[in-house]
Amino acid sequence: MSGGAAPGDRAPRGTRPPARAGLGSGASLLFLLPWLVCLALFHLFPLAHSFALSFTDRNLLRAGGTRFVGLANYESVLGDPQFWQAMRTTGLFVIGTVPVTIVLALALALFLARPSRAPGAMRAIVFFPSVVSFAVVALVFKSLYSPSGPLLDALASIGVRLPTILNDPRLALPAVMVMDIWMAAGYYAVLLLAGLLSVPGELYDAARLDGAGAWQTFRRITLPGVRPVLLFALIINTIRSFQVFVEIYVMTRGGPLSSTMTAVYYLYEEAFFRFEMGRASAASYLLFAVILAFSLVQIARFRLGSPLTEGSR
């Protein structure tokens, strides 16, 4: 529709319209090729392959002999109480981390948006946790939480005596959540900061002239202004939280009492401990369905009544 279909519209603006037209679809495709090949090989193919696997009894150790089993894998996963427990734990993790992370990130972004209060170095510091590998952070937190670690010592000095954190069925999951929030908040804060800085300054000036208070300004200008970024952060963080794995793998391996057994850890064990690739694929597609449903709901909710976003397009 656009671009090549109506070159006349754009010709007067540029000085080299023929060159642009000459690039055509062939050249742009050529430039996209490396990415397209990677996408096809490492994303689309595995995606399709695992979907196909979810209808078979594929076992990694069994050479050959993979049979089509229809919906049997989905049935057996849905009938496994452990899967439901893993889904519940995952749900808890999402509920426990996403809102806190986003609110914290927004607060951090608001703080960082004032150069007088927060110099550039501060932004770097806030962003820092998300640069470090998840596994490394998980190891650091593991020693922080360890019985001989500084946290329990500090708690003991104020009279709270806990023998363990990661090995307490009630504390293990919250402890992993805290780490996840610490790690993610800075990243989303920097994203939201970019959103904040893109809100036109005149709007704030006008609001001040009209006598709007801080809360009103935040509610009527800031929030609608960052809404697109907020939506992005919310969706990405929700998806990531649903897929929590590395922290669990490094810190708790699903224990104690399966209190940190999340959906992805469940399917990891299914795939690489029992080698049941068919069942693991079925479990991952069930999780995919849940994530997709959540994302669609979030998009629908946030798109409604968003005058600034609608208008700016």
Binding site: S25, G26, L29, L60, L61, R62, A63, S146, G255, S258
Partner: protein
């Protein structure tokens, strides 16, 4: 129009890519055929995957190559963190090496799926010179050769016991272990009695089963039926649970750390902790001992035995050469090279060289003695499911969610289901 062009181009690119893949695959096959047809003069290359330090194993492999001029060994060192997955993927994709090191708990599963070569007729001559064959066997057939073996012993912090005015001699009975643990347990002061594994999947059974075995219980009875509700088994779990109030419940790495830091009176661990204590020069008196037994008139306790084994994947086309390398490596003097350096394992071979080594090293002598009465879990293809059932039941008891008898009833049902599914 444009979309059509894109699709067309993408199709051409993908087609070209797969054509190239195909061509490369054919070329590889041709090369392989050439190599196979080249006759006995050209050296045959066997691929060997193992987990120990390259510097440790490479000289042994070089010795082997020197003694076998027709064989080239391409050795690859795997990491404990990802090696196992690499082996599984290699087997799944038909690219398995010719000889591979496997932990004993994995052999039955691999063997049951037909991934390993049956070595029964080839290793008959070796049977008497090595221990711990059971873990590498299935239905009376041998699928892996024991190379290095390890067991679990009781680690005792004697200074901590002395400070608590408890007997510093390693406890010989269950009651003595509980009494000494109770005396030494002072969580408020950061000191703990017994180090009890908890919170870790796939590990707990290694710590609990020795208590059940030592009491005459077992997971399966002689007829292969689940036996975890038998009084001997439940009684052992009741005793084990009675240690909880005097214990630090943690994962293995944390327990090892707590012992190294001198905060734990007792823990059950493996040879790796002996090495760490030696390397760190622990600032307290410690010793190792066999696990305690139910009472003084009971037979010696049975600890958990694990082994690193050498197996030949079913797809190997150089099985005879791989077997020669396996035979070479498991010999006592060569396995000792690994044992002396790592100190976490002992050779599976029990010859004069190994005996002399243990005679000269008292800590190794204790481990060797413990190994003699150690047991391995049933080499059953459904063991992964069975140990999960046990793990859950034991953990439920340790965290006070179930009584021992009820927990074992639940485990019994799950084990029966796992057996029925095979």
């Amino acid at each position: 129009m444009r979309i059509l062009t894109v699709i067309k181009s993408a199709t051409i690119v993908l087609a070209a890519f797969f054509a190239l893949q195909l061509a490369a695959g054919c070329a590889r096959k041709e090369a392989a055929k050439d190599a196979a047809g080249a006759g006995a003069d050209a050296p045959r290359t066997i691929r060997f995957w193992q987990f120990w330090d390259t510097e440790l194993i490479a000289p042994l492999v070089a010795q082997f190559e020197a003694a076998h001029p027709g064989i080239d060994v391409e050795m690859e060192t795997l990491t404990w963190a990802s090696g196992f997955e690499k082996i599984v993927v290699a087997i799944a994709s038909g690219k398995a090496p010719d000889l591979v090191e496997l932990g004993s708990t994995w052999v039955p599963k691999f063997a049951a799926e037909g991934a390993l070569r049956d070595l029964t007729p080839d290793v008959a001559a070796l049977r008497d010179s090595l221990v711990q064959w059971e873990s590498g066997m299935r239905d009376g057939r041998v699928f892996a050769v024991p190379w290095l073996v390890g067991t679990r012993v009781l680690f005792v912090n004697q200074d901590l016991l002395a400070a608590a005015a408890a007997d510093t001699a390693p406890p010989a009975t269950w009651a003595a272990l509980r009494d000494a643990s109770r005396a030494a347990h002072a969580p408020a002061a950061g000191r703990y009695g017994f180090g009890m594994n908890a919170g870790e999947r796939h590990v707990l059974y290694k710590k609990f089963l020795p208590f059940a075995w030592s009491n005459g219980g077992d997971v399966l009875d002689a007829a292969g039926r689940p036996a975890v509700t038998a009084p001997a088994f439940v009684e052992a779990l009741e005793y084990y649970a009675s240690l909880v109030p005097h214990s630090l419940l943690e994962r293995q790495d944390q327990l090892d750390l707590a012992f190294l830091e001198g905060r734990l009176a007792f823990t059950i661990s493996g040879g790796w902790l002996v090495k760490q204590l030696g390397d760190k020069g622990a600032p307290f008196r410690w010793t190792i001992a066999p696990l305690p037994r139910p009472s003084l008139d009971a037979p010696p306790s049975a600890s958990f035995a694990g082994a690193e084994m050498l197996a030949i994947p079913a797809t190997s086309r150089h099985a005879a050469d791989a077997l020669a390398l396996a035979r070479f490596l498991v010999a006592g003097e060569r396995a000792l090279v690994v044992a002396e350096s790592e100190r976490s394992v002992l050779p599976a071979a029990h010859d004069a060289a190994v005996q002399a080594y243990c005679d000269a090293n008292p800590l190794e002598a204790v481990q060797l003695a413990v190994l003699r009465t150690s047991k391995a879990p049933p080499a059953h293809p459904a063991w992964v499911e069975m140990q999960e059932a046990l793990n859950t039941a034991i953990e439920d008891v340790l965290f006070g969610k179930a009584e021992p008898a009820a927990a074992m009833q639940a485990a019994d049902a799950k084990i029966a289901a796992a057996l029925a599914s095979r």
